[in-house]
C-alpha cells in the first residue's frame, strides 16, 4: 500500500446557503490519497449538499477553498469540468443507460474512438472498457453486453469503472450509497474493487447508512449533523455505540420526559403477517385514539407499508382486519370504503390535482354526495368547502382558486381536510410535513392530535424523528421491510430509534 502522502482532497470553510437556510456551514474535510474516508450523518445532515458542491452541481458560498490533489478548484467550476480535475462520482442511481452496451456506457460523454466517416470503432471501445474492468478485478463482465442484462452488482462495478475511466488522472472517487441494493456477498466483491482503487493511490469518499460496512471498509470517518461537522475520527478508535452517538448527537439516555401514556386498548386495525413489495411478514395493531409512528431509513419499506395498508400495493400475504372484520384491500377504493384514509407522500404527484380548484380537490372523495336528483349541489358544496377551509385554516379562503397556486403548507392543509373530513377509523400519513413551512407544520401536527382524540387510529410515517418522538404514543422502527423493534412511550428517544434503524440484522 502506498503511504498516504499528499491530500487527495482538502476542503476549507465550505458553506452553502439556500434561500436563507444554511445547509452546510463552514465544513473542513481532508481525504488522504489511498484511504477510504466515510462520510456519515442522518438524512438532511448535509452529506448530499457537500457531494453536490464537490461535483459542481451546487456553487458553494464565497470563501470556500477546495483543493483536489493540490490543485485549487476555481469558484466558477461546474459539473462538466469535475472529471478534468480528477473527481469521479458514483451516485446511488447509477446513471447507466440500460439500452446501451457496457463499453458504450463507459465511453458516453468522452470521445469514443472513431474511424472514417465517424464510424464508432467497436472493437477498440470494447478493449478500453475491458482494461478498466480488469483493473477492478472484473474481467468477467463482457463489454459488449447491454447494461440492462447485468445484475445490479455488475452494474455497480460498471458505474465504478466508468467513473474511474472518466477521471483518468483520478485523485478522488465519491461513492454515494453504492451498496443500497446489493446482497451481502456482492458487497464483499465491491469492497475488493474499492480497495484496489485505493491501492492505486486514489482517495475515496464513501457515503453509507450501514455502519458495519463503514467499519469494515473505511480508515477514517467524518460525521455531519445539521450542516456542521461533528468531527473526524479514525475508525479504529470508535465503538459502534460511539459512532451512533456522533451521528445522532445525544448521549444514549432518555431525552424527552415520558408523558403518561393513555391506555389504548381497543384495536381498530390489525395486520397479521402482511407482505408486499418491500414489506416482509409484518404484524402490527393500531388502537383507537392512538398515534403510532413509523420510522426507518430510506428504503426500509415504511412508505410501502402505508400504501399496502391503503390497498395501493398488492398484498402478497397476510391479512388486515378492521375492527375484527377482515377487509380485502385490492384497490384504494376498498380501503376508503373500510374507513381508511391516506395522505400520500409526494404531494404534487399524489396528493393534489394541480389544475383543479381547492374546493374540487377537497371534496373529490364525496363528489357523489352533492349529486342529487341529477344535479350537482354547487352551493351546498361551496358551503362545506368554506367551512373546511376555516376549520383547517387553508389560505387564501378562495374555494375556486387553483390549488397549484397555494403555498405547499396550504395545499397540504387542504389535503388533510379532504381525508380527515369523513367518517374514518384509520388515518395513514406518509411524510405529511414534507415541503411545508414551520407554521403550517405545527398546524398539521395539531390536527393529527385532534383527530386521534376523536378516536381515530393514526399511523404517522415520517423521516423526521423529532416529530415522531414528540407526537407519537409509540414508534415502530422498520429495517429492511421488517419490524426492527418498537419504541414505547416511556423510552422513545432519537437514539433508541436510530439504534434500531441502523441495526442491520434483525435480532429475532
Amino acid at each position: 500500500m502506498s503511504a498516504p502522502v499528499p491530500n487527495a482532497l482538502s476542503v476549507r470553510g465550505l458553506s452553502k446557503t439556500f434561500g436563507g437556510q444554511r445547509a452546510l456551514s463552514n465544513v473542513d474535510l481532508d481525504v488522504m490519497s489511498g484511504e477510504v474516508h466515510a462520510l456519515l450523518g442522518e438524512n438532511g445532515s448535509g452529506k448530499s449538499t457537500l457531494v453536490k458542491c464537490l461535483s459542481g452541481y451546487h456553487q458553494p458560498d464565497p470563501g470556500a477553498r477546495i483543493e483536489v490533489g493540490g490543485e485549487v478548484l476555481p469558484p466558477t467550476y461546474g459539473p462538466e469540468s469535475a472529471t478534468s480535475y480528477g473527481l469521479a462520482f458514483v451516485h446511488q442511481d447509477l446513471g447507466l443507460i440500460p439500452t446501451l452496451t457496457v463499453a458504450e456506457n463507459m465511453l458516453l460523454g468522452q470521445s469514443p474512438p472513431t474511424g472514417f466517416g465517424w464510424r464508432a470503432k467497436k472493437r477498440q471501445e470494447a478493449a478500453l472498457a475491458r482494461r478498466q474492468l480488469t483493473a477492478l478485478d472484473h474481467p468477467d463482465i463482457d463489454p459488449r453486453r447491454f447494461v440492462g442484462e447485468l445484475s445490479v452488482a455488475q452494474q455497480t462495478i460498471v458505474a465504478l469503472a466508468r467513473a474511474l475511466y472518466g477521471a483518468e488522472r483520478g485523485k478522488l472517487l465519491v461513492l454515494d450509497e453504492p451498496t443500497a441494493s446489493l446482497a451481502q456477498s456482492e458487497v464483499e466483491r465491491l469492497f475488493e474493487a474499492v480497495r484496489r482503487i485505493t491501492e492505486e493511490g486514489h482517495g475515496v469518499i464513501y457515503i453509507s447508512h450501514k455502519l458495519d460496512e463503514v467499519r469494515a471498509l473505511a480508515r477514517t470517518v467524518t460525521v455531519l449533523r445539521n450542516g456542521e461537522k461533528v468531527g473526524t475520527r479514525t475508525v479504529a478508535e470508535l465503538s459502534r455505540a460511539g459512532l451512533i452517538e456522533m451521528i445522532v448527537g445525544r448521549p444514549l439516555e432518555a431525552l424527552y420526559p415520558s408523558g403518561s401514556p393513555a391506555p389504548h386498548t381497543e384495536p381498530v386495525l390489525t395486520a397479521r403477517g402482511i407482505s408486499g413489495r418491500r414489506v416482509k411478514n409484518l404484524s402490527m395493531t393500531l388502537h383507537k385514539g392512538e398515534i403510532v409512528g413509523v420510522a426507518g431509513l430510506l428504503g426500509c419499506g415504511k412508505s410501502e407499508l402505508g400504501r399496502l395498508l391503503f390497498g395501493d400495493q398488492r398484498l402478497t400475504g397476510g391479512e388486515v382486519r378492521i375492527e375484527e372484520r377482515e377487509v380485502r384491500l385490492r384497490a384504494p377504493a376498498d380501503a376508503i370504503g373500510a374507513g381508511i384514509s391516506m395522505v400520500p407522500a409526494d404531494r404534487h404527484r399524489n396528493g393534489v390535482i394541480l389544475d383543479h380548484s381547492v374546493g374540487e380537490n377537497m371534496t373529490l372523495l364525496e363528489t357523489r354526495r352533492y349529486w342529487r336528483r341529477g344535479l350537482m349541489r354547487r352551493r351546498e358544496r361551496a358551503r362545506t368547502v368554506r367551512a373546511l377551509m376555516e376549520e383547517y385554516d387553508v389560505r387564501p379562503r378562495q374555494p375556486s382558486r387553483l390549488i397549484g397556486l397555494l403555498s405547499g403548507g396550504n395545499q397540504q392543509k387542504a389535503v388533510l381536510a379532504k381525508w380527515m373530513h369523513r367518517d374514518l377509523k384509520v388515518l395513514i400519513l406518509d411524510e405529511p410535513t414534507q415541503g411545508v413551512d414551520i407554521g403550517a407544520k405545527a398546524q398539521i401536527l395539531a390536527q393529527l392530535e385532534r383527530v386521534a382524540t376523536r378516536g381515530v387510529a393514526v399511523l404517522f410515517i415520517s423521516e423526521e424523528v423529532d416529530d415522531l418522538v414528540h407526537l407519537c404514543d409509540r414508534i415502530v422502527v422498520l429495517a429492511d421491510g421488517e419490524v426492527a423493534g418498537e419504541v414505547s412511550a416511556e423510552n422513545k428517544t432519537r437514539n433508541r430509534i436510530s439504534e434500531l434503524a441502523y441495526q442491520e440484522e434483525v435480532v429475532s
Binding site: 376508503i336 370504503g337 389544475d355 373529490l364 363528489t367 341529477g374 397549484g404 397556486l405 403555498s407 405547499g408
Partner: protein, 339 residues
C-alpha cells in the same frame, strides 16, 4: 430543494393585484372566457357584410350547420379521451368504419336501416373498447395503439368495400336522417343538439364528469382517491368510439352513399376543434361548449373565405393553423395556471 419548489408555486400570475374578478378581470387569472363565441360573432358579421348574397342566406346557414354537425359530434367524442389525459387518433377511421358498415350492410347484405345503423354503432363502440383496454390495461401508449387501430380500420374498410363506393340500395330510412328537417331545422343539427346536451350534462353536472377530469388532472391522485382509473379511461374511449359511429352514420345519411376514403380526413378538424375549444369557456380545460363553438369558428372561417374567393386549398390550411394556434394557446394557459 423544497424551498425553491415552494417559491415557484407561490408565483401567482396577477395574484398580487388583490382578489380577482372584483373590479376588473385580470386577463390571465380568470378561468372563464368568451373570446371564442365573440370571434364567431365577428366572423359571421364580417362575412355577412362582405358577401350578403352568398354567405348571409338561410340556406347557407343550414348547410354550414348540418354539414358540420358531423365534425362537431366527432370532436365531442374525441374530447373524452383528451379529458382523461389520453387521445384517440382513430376517430376519423372509426367514422369511416361506421359509414361503410351502415351503407354497405344495407346495399350489399340487404339489411334494413335500423339494423345497419345498430351494427355500425356497435362496431364503432367496440373499437373504443379495444382502444381503451389497450391503453388502460395493456399499458400501451395511446399514440401507438390508436394510430395502429386507425390503420387497421382503414385497411379493413377497404377490404370490406373492395375499394368501391356503395351508391345503390341505400335505404330511405338512412337518407332521411341527413336530409329531412324538423321545425325547419335539419335533422343532423338536432342530433348535434342532443349530443351537446348529453355530453355537457355528463361532464359538467355529474360525478362521472368530475372523475374524468380528475383522472386527466392527476392519474396518481385520482387512483389514491379511490377512483377506478382504468375503467374511467376505457369509458372515455368507448364514448369516443360510439360518437365516431354516430358521426359516421350522419355522414352516410347526408352523402347518400358510402365511400371507403371518407373517414381519416375528419381526424384533424375534430382535434383542431377540441384544442381550440379549450381556449374558451373553462379555459385551459377541454370542454363541450368550447369544442362546439370552435367547430363552427373553423367552419364559418373556411366557408366565408371560400365565398369571398379564397382558393380551394383554404380548408386544410385554415384547419391546421387553427390547431397549431390552439395548441400554443393551451400550452400558454396551462403554464400560467399551474406555474
Amino acid at each position: 430543494m423544497s424551498l425553491t419548489k415552494e417559491q415557484s408555486v407561490e408565483v401567482t400570475p396577477g395574484g398580487e393585484s388583490g382578489p380577482r374578478g372584483v373590479v376588473a378581470k385580470v386577463p390571465w387569472g380568470s378561468l372563464t372566457d368568451y373570446s371564442l363565441p365573440a370571434m364567431l360573432a365577428v366572423l359571421v358579421a364580417a362575412f355577412c357584410i362582405l358577401e350578403p348574397q352568398t354567405f348571409a342566406t338561410v340556406q347557407n346557414l343550414k348547410t354550414i350547420l348540418s354539414s358540420n354537425s358531423v365534425v362537431a359530434i366527432l370532436a365531442l367524442g374525441a374530447l373524452f379521451p383528451l379529458i382523461v389525459g389520453e387521445f384517440d387518433l382513430s376517430v376519423g377511421a372509426n367514422l369511416g368504419l361506421s359509414l361503410i358498415l351502415s351503407t354497405g350492410l344495407a346495399s350489399r347484405s340487404g339489411l334494413g336501416a335500423p339494423e345497419a345503423i345498430a351494427v355500425a354503432l356497435i362496431a364503432s363502440s367496440l373499437v373504443g373498447v379495444i382502444n381503451g383496454v389497450l391503453v388502460a390495461k395493456g399499458g400501451i401508449d395511446a399514440f401507438v395503439s390508436t394510430l395502429g387501430m386507425s390503420s387497421l380500420i382503414t385497411g379493413g374498410v377497404v377490404w370490406y368495400s373492395n375499394g368501391e363506393t356503395f351508391a345503390t340500395g341505400i335505404p330511405h330510412g338512412l337518407i332521411v336522417l341527413g336530409r329531412n328537417e324538423f321545425l325547419g331545422v335539419p335533422l343532423p343539427v338536432w342530433f348535434l343538439a342532443v349530443t351537446v346536451a348529453v355530453t355537457y350534462y355528463l361532464l359538467a353536472a355529474t360525478p362521472l364528469g368530475k372523475y374524468l377530469y380528475a383522472v386527466g388532472g392527476s392519474r396518481d391522485a385520482a387512483r389514491l382517491s379511490g377512483l377506478n382509473v382504468p375503467l374511467l379511461t376505457i369509458l372515455a374511449f368507448v364514448v369516443s368510439g360510439f360518437l365516431a359511429g354516430v358521426a359516421g352514420i350522419l355522414q352516410a345519411a347526408q352523402l347518400g352513399s358510402g365511400s371507403p376514403s371518407v373517414g381519416p380526413s375528419y381526424l384533424l378538424p375534430a382535434f383542431a376543434a377540441v384544442f381550440l375549444g379549450a381556449t374558451s369557456f373553462r379555459r385551459g380545460a377541454f370542454n363541450v361548449p368550447g369544442t362546439v363553438t370552435a367547430t363552427f369558428v373553423i367552419a364559418v372561417g373556411i366557408n366565408g373565405l371560400e365565398s369571398i374567393g379564397a382558393p380551394f386549398y383554404i380548408a386544410p390550411v385554415f384547419t391546421g393553423a387553427a390547431l397549431l394556434t390552439a395548441a400554443l394557446a393551451a400550452r400558454a394557459f396551462k403554464a400560467r395556471r399551474t406555474a
